[in-house]
Amino acid sequence: MAVVLLMAARRASRQVHVGIAAACSAGGLAVLLVQAGPVLSGRTATVRLPWIPTLGLDVSLWLDPLALLFAGLILSIGLLVVVYAHGYLGKTEPTARFLSFLMLFQGAMVGIALSSNVLLMLVFWELTSLASFLLIGFWRDQADARQGARMALTITGGGGLALIAGMVLLGKAAGSYDLATILARADLVQASALYPAILILILVGAFTKSAQFPFHFWLPHAMAAPTPVSAYLHSATMVKAGVFLLARLWPVLAGTDWWFFVVTSVGLTTMLFGAGVALFRHDLKAILAYSTISQLGLMVMLLGFGTGAAVAAAIFHILNHAAFKAALFMHAGIVDHETGTRDIKRLGGLAAIMPLTATLGVLAAAAMAGLPPLGGFISKEMMLEQSAHTSWHGQALLVPVLATIAAMLSAAYSLRYAVALHFGARRTGAVAAPHDPGALLLAPPAILGVIALALGILPMTLAGPLVAAATAAVTGGAAPHLHLALWHGLNPALFMSLGAVAIAILLLWLYPAAAASVARLPSPDAKQMFDRALATSVDALRRLSGVIHRASLQRYLAVLFVTALALAGEAAWRFGVAAGARATTPASPVAVVAWAALIVATAAVLAVDRRRYLALVFISVIGLVMALAFIHLSAPDLALTQIAVEVVTILLMLLALHLLPGNPPRLSAVSRRVRDGAIALCGGLGSGWLAWAVMTRPERAGISRFHWNNSYSGGGGTNVVNVTLVDFRAFDTLGEITVLGIAGLTIFALLEPAAHGVAGRRLREWRSKDRFSPERHPMMFVMATRLLLPLALLVGMYIFLRGHNQPGGGFIAALVFSIAILLQYLASGFDWTDVRRRISEHQLIGMGVLIAVATGLGSLVFGAPFLTSSFDHVHLPLIGEFELATAMLFDLGVALVVVGAVMMALAQLAHVAQRAAKQDPAEQDGAKQDSTKQDSTKQGSAKQGREERS
């Protein structure tokens, strides 16, 4: 509601920042006060904006008495804290950031209070955790602050996640996320099988936020935050969000045994535990933090009792606690600010030198101790009164006794705080002569102190209606009869209270001895345990993750293969993959021979795998058999392609092989090879069987029937494969040449910088261990290629032109062109050939793609879809009839890209070693300096040089 982004005014003065923030809080408060009258008289104000209707998440706010109480608390203390912060923060601190976080928090907090949609409440809930994280970590240079912030976020954020689950389940059980609806459906929820889960999850959320045992430990460490934050978030407001939540959901969740036992027990334990620890802490803020834990336990316990009176007590205590604890935090802040220490053992006798501060501190501590005539006394009495009536699992005395002990401990640490700090010998910490601070620091706690006092003296006037209305809102019934007063007569609570104070004083008398014995007790440090647990698990996870994600291609592939095998195996195992009934084709002896050649060659590739050259030779054999197979099996286009691609591939591999290290030693162990062999065998058998299963199934009439029937009439060609490529499925082909073009570009991008830097140095230093013949360009070969070039180009032209009707086409023709030119490179060398080429690969690729796309776009001009072809049989005198098809233009684009990409790959690769060798040392240094961050001008010039050559 009131989130103002102070970032906008980042550069403005701190006064402006404080002004904005204070105005914000005050404005919110004003709105509340305006609404207060109607709300208390029973008219709930609501606002509803649709947000995510499908989810049932609306921005719906309401202002009922409980919301009013909470929001008022948040805004009013917020206002005071802003003022206090103005005095507290140093001149150089970034107030804008601080206050924007604070305002973010305040807004979120008010949001929690006002939400009438549980999902919306979750949003605000998690936001408070986030804001708390930022605020605790505000002094980011301090390790304590960072760790405290992370711990707080971890615990409260984690609890928040449980709360999310709980709330969504609650919504599911109640059939709505609207709070009012949910609250009205307690029977539905409590009857639901999900109720225990809902309860536990929500309680975890509430308990973590409210620092209930055993989730309490983050709170003391949150004290690393600046004191205004501690006062505001970690005593007065945020930690009470859990209590608020319990109160808010009280009608729908409370009243069951589950609720009573869990909530009461946790609250009681926390109350006792917090109080006990607080007594033996020496850091002022730590004392206050544990005290807060204890007090929160008190409130939780009261809510757990499940009675209206207990709720009223809790709510009244919320008010009291907010007043005195915020005041105490501010007081502790002042002491820290003035004396430079928060160690209670280094402080004493401050009453004499800081009278105002001391008065304030004593007053607030008395309220915390539950001494009359302060508000704290009343709420403590109410608590004791309620516990006196509570029987825990048949144990009537358990709760009252423990509650009294807790009250006693509270009184003890409160008195210790008041007495040890302000009276006795003068100890002033790090500063020689501390004094009372200015009004900005003093006024806010003073106001709170006065309120704490007033709540004791005039409880009914000040808080009566509010507490009553809020209690009614919580219990969902009418406003209970409420009598807030210092004196209730001689009831058990009074005796319990008196006894507690008396023992407390006695305990303080014996304090040194007790403290010494407590100090000897092992004190598990929650923070260390938390840190260690986290660090250990992070380390373990990191090691695990490292093992899992080791950079190992071999592993990536093994997992991929095994997964695929497992999946295919599952299907085959469950449903069976039987062979079909289609008659097989008898194999001719020559087919068997070719097959044998393929099998043998494959085995040979494996057998000689580390003698790569030989492996390549055998790969050639496989390629040859493949081509023969395609011929035999009626696929001449494939055969042509296979033959041409094979040659280019071999050239490419030989070029690369030259620069790779020589025959390497075997890398993998026997076990590894056995494992891989097993995977390979399974993969082979599996894929072979799949092929077999499909091939033996009768074919079905499919879409290719259409292709066959329309090839000539609709596509203008008799080679159905080619018509498919350039017409029916031209879009595939467009994608395919794009792939090739990109491959070319990437290859260029890879090889162009290879002459520089590390790679360039390695290339220059590279010497083969083999002895080579000195003859570079064998005469016979050179001469033959000169004759072959025009011949091969002619053949290429032929294959290109007839592709539409006979085997051939742009791709194969392009490969023939490429091979013709590559032959020149092979025979006459790079430089000789390169200067004779007229067109760069980049141009070819670019033009090819453009021509192909433009051909496709051409049809748009005629109102036909992209890539619609058109053809006509043209009659020319003399020449006769011939066919012109746009598909041929498309094929031209294909051819250009293919030539470009192939030449790019091979010519660049052939070029790289030489270019590195030619680099002069001066350029080497330049390249070494920065191999990754090449400036563009140098690239540009290198590029230009290349362009001029070509």
Binding site: F772, S773, E775, H777, P778, M779, V782, M783, A784, L791
Partner: protein, 137 residues
């Protein structure tokens, strides 16, 4: 006419396949690399040539069309086969000279030096401005 053509085809087919087979057999049974080189460069060229002519005649006899383009295959082979043989011989010479274990010298022994002071191009860079060098062009 058909009978004559058939007989021609049959003879050519047998001749062609026979020479191809003999060439490959030579590759298996001849003693060393240089000798083996003779098999393919000769037997297979004619073998293939005979098959191609058979194909021409066959097409004429069966389909009644004159297709001569098979001869182009022969043209290419006549251009390329000697080059292949030449390069393979160079590989052999080079490896034998370097002393590679698996490249034994043939029964002709090491090649004699050419007259004069030079060596073969495989062992000595071709001299500039001689026909053996193509660098000058």
């Amino acid at each position: 006419m058909t009978l004559v053509a058939d007989i021609i085809v049959i003879v050519l087919l047998l001749l062609g396949a026979g020479f191809a087979l003999i060439g490959s057999w030579g590759l298996v049974r001849l003693p060393t690399t240089m000798e083996r080189l003779h098999g393919p460069t000769k037997a297979t060229t004619l073998g293939l040539g005979a098959l191609l002519v058979a194909s021409v005649v066959h097409a004429q006899a069966r389909l009644g069309v004159w297709t001569a383009h098979e001869l182009l295959i022969s043209l290419f082979l006549f251009i390329t086969a000697p080059i292949s043989a030449n390069m393979i011989a160079k590989v052999h010479l080079h490896r034998a000279r370097v002393g590679t274990v698996d490249e034994p010298e043939g029964i002709a022994g090491p090649p004699p030096r050419p007259s004069g002071d030079g060596d073969w191009a495989t062992f000595e860079a071709p001299r500039r401005d001689t026909p053996a060098s193509t660098a000058n062009s």
